[in-house]
Symmetry: C2
Subunit: 386 residues, 2 copies
């Protein structure tokens, strides 16, 4: 076979930073358990988690004794800097133009791939090439192997997540002093983003939500030119990213000096959402099904008669991705365990009227929830800006 | 079958905005040509192009007489506002939990899907469900059907692209007055981003590159804490987004008052890159193969002895996505046509030393290139900041 790839760097595994080495070791056990010769990794956060590579294009190939990063011309130099302990191979073209040859040369016959992150088209072309070149290579779909490893945070990861959480807490303090009746949603969101970026967030993990009045009924609202008024709900949802690790945070405010002017419905709904969140915080235990955790909060909202108005899950894992494993929702098959970091974010949304969401980040430690987010939320009134 | 989806809105097609109607009409001809009953659309920009929906999750289903947007709880209200002429159906769960039933009810037997944007896992689960439920539904992979339509810009699209191009031109003017020896790459990139955002860019389509000295040799460099010095190349690459439509722009500067102090190599490389770009601008014609267009610029760089240092393609289409069809590169099978908007961005990158890239956006009109970008680039010296 001609050479469609070139291994241009190889350093001793001894130089591996302990974190990456530890992660590779865990993955190699899984690869062996599954009877695979190697695993092809394409999901961006999985790639970064295992190798440190932050480029937007590349493939990892992990076997019992090799750790290869395949990327194109644009990223080779960056890869060499970021992943000194991987062999870097410069590739050209789609998967099928280099992978069969490399697998043949390394005598791999069973190659796992991430079934959620390889398109039908790529898979199909790759299988056709393997057939036509008569390479003895079986492609084995896998799901969630690395996502599962990522869901349990190492102390170093937790430290970065806490920095990101602290930054969103600080941005919220700042936002409370900035947001006033008369400012538009878009202006408020941009002020929050500038704060986050200026104080160290690497980009922002998702578009900031500032949704006022009826707009707050859209769980994924985009900031508009709508002017924020007093007496209505203002839902803020934002995140920060520090060294790759994210935070995710929501509060619902009301810009109203006269508490009596705040509608009874808004106060009542706020209290139900908070009660639902606190029920989850108190009830969640290590070993619990994630669906059962969702149930703890959902039961409170259903009992108050708003079950249909809580249309999303209770929360989601947060780490290198702002949405990752575990999923806390009615249909989740995940289990909760010590070291998992996730959001608890019940909400009630009423079309045409508005919505309330309260979102904190937590970790499970010694079997119970520890809340990472510090911003106050004790009651709707206390969150209001006076 | 039980109802796993619910069509919750249906308006007359007569209310369709002309643009969307026109696009749907073209797509329906293609669907008919391919012998399909309907097409499933999941690629985000394709979804927006056909429907106007800007949410991050949802599926379109287009047949000869139906136009359906399937999305979950979080986006239903947004979908109703943005896509008044689609039927909105609220769905729950993955493709396989609602699509077979809907296809059965609508009597579709041949359903096209976008093979590059459906994962192996989704496809596999969907086929298994179709088999187990004994639904008479064939899944037909398609590629580039809508991408091809999108590559020819309508006048309304061009008007938005030009606004985005004007904004990057203005941001570059501002950057030239801001960037000085002593500022870090990260500070410079953040100043540029603030300008773009404050003057109307909806987010930014990609992370801004400010790469100085040896960092400019990385085609996709990330801004670092490196302090920009005089006499070295400073590569700036940025984009803006207006009503969804993008611009993409690069210039390479040198902060050096004394032109004699600029290295001969830097000046020489700048001139080669510019000559390569101008050769493409002059030589590209409607009907030309995109690979041949790439050749026009590449030949100049090769003749100057830097062929290996130009490792990426000459350019790419720009529209709702910042990288879209056509692809101008040595292995492209695209053809260029009137109405296509793309970048021309040759570059030379020398590891450890630095790089030069000059990127303009152009459109093909009446068979020839019209340059949309206005920022000066006549010579390396003229681009320098004095």
């Amino acid at each position: 076979m001609s050479t469609s790839y070139q291994l241009c760097q190889s350093r001793s595994a001894g130089a591996c930073p302990p974190l990456t080495l530890n992660r590779l070791q865990k993955l190699r056990s899984i690869i062996a358990e599954k009877g695979l010769d190697a695993l092809l990794v394409s999901q961006p956060e999985n790639r970064r988690y295992l190798s440190g590579f932050t480029g937007s294009s590349g493939w990892l190939l992990i076997s019992d004794n090799r750790a290869i990063l395949a990327t194109d011309f644009r990223y080779v130099e960056q890869a060499k800097e970021e992943t000194p302990d991987f062999e870097i191979t410069q590739i050209k073209g789609a998967l099928d133009s280099w992978l069969p040859e490399l697998a043949f040369d390394l005598k791999w016959h069973k190659l796992g791939f991430e079934a959620n992150f390889v398109s039908y088209h790529s898979y199909h072309r790759l299988s056709e090439t393997i057939k036509s070149k008569q390479v003895n290579l079986e492609l084995v779909p896998t799901t969630d192997l690395i996502e599962h490893l990522r869901s349990i945070k190492e102390p170093q990861e937790l430290a970065l997540i806490i920095k990101a959480v602290e930054l969103t807490d600080a941005a919220f303090e700042q936002a409370k002093s900035l947001i006033h009746p008369g400012i538009t949603e878009r202006e408020a969101a941009w002020e929050i983003e500038k704060y986050l970026r200026q104080y160290g967030s690497e980009g922002i993990p998702f578009e900031i939500i500032v949704a006022s009045g009826p707009n707050s009924a859209l769980p994924h609202a985009k900031p508009t030119e709508r002017i924020i008024c007093s007496g209505e709900p203002v839902l803020i949802d934002m995140g920060a990213r520090i060294s790759g690790y994210c935070s995710d945070f929501s509060r619902t405010l009301c810009l109203e000096k006269d508490l009596k002017a705040v509608s009874c419905q808004l106060s009542a709904i706020y209290d139900i959402v908070l009660k639902a969140q606190l029920a989850a915080m108190e009830g969640i235990k290590s070993g619990m099904d994630a669906a059962q955790a969702d149930r703890l909060a959902r039961a409170v909202i259903e009992q108050a008669g708003y079950g249909d108005a809580f249309g999303h899950g209770l929360g989601h894992g947060v780490g290198l991705a702002v949405h990752e494993s575990p999923t806390l929702g009615p249909n989740s098959s995940d289990s909760l365990a010590d070291g998992m970091v996730f959001t608890l974010e019940p909400g009630i949304y009423i079309n045409g009227w508005g919505g309330v969401r309260i979102e904190d980040m937590v970790i499970i430690e010694k079997g119970r929830v520890r809340v990472l987010t510090r911003s106050e939320k004790d009651s709707f009134q206390q969150s209001a800006i006076h």
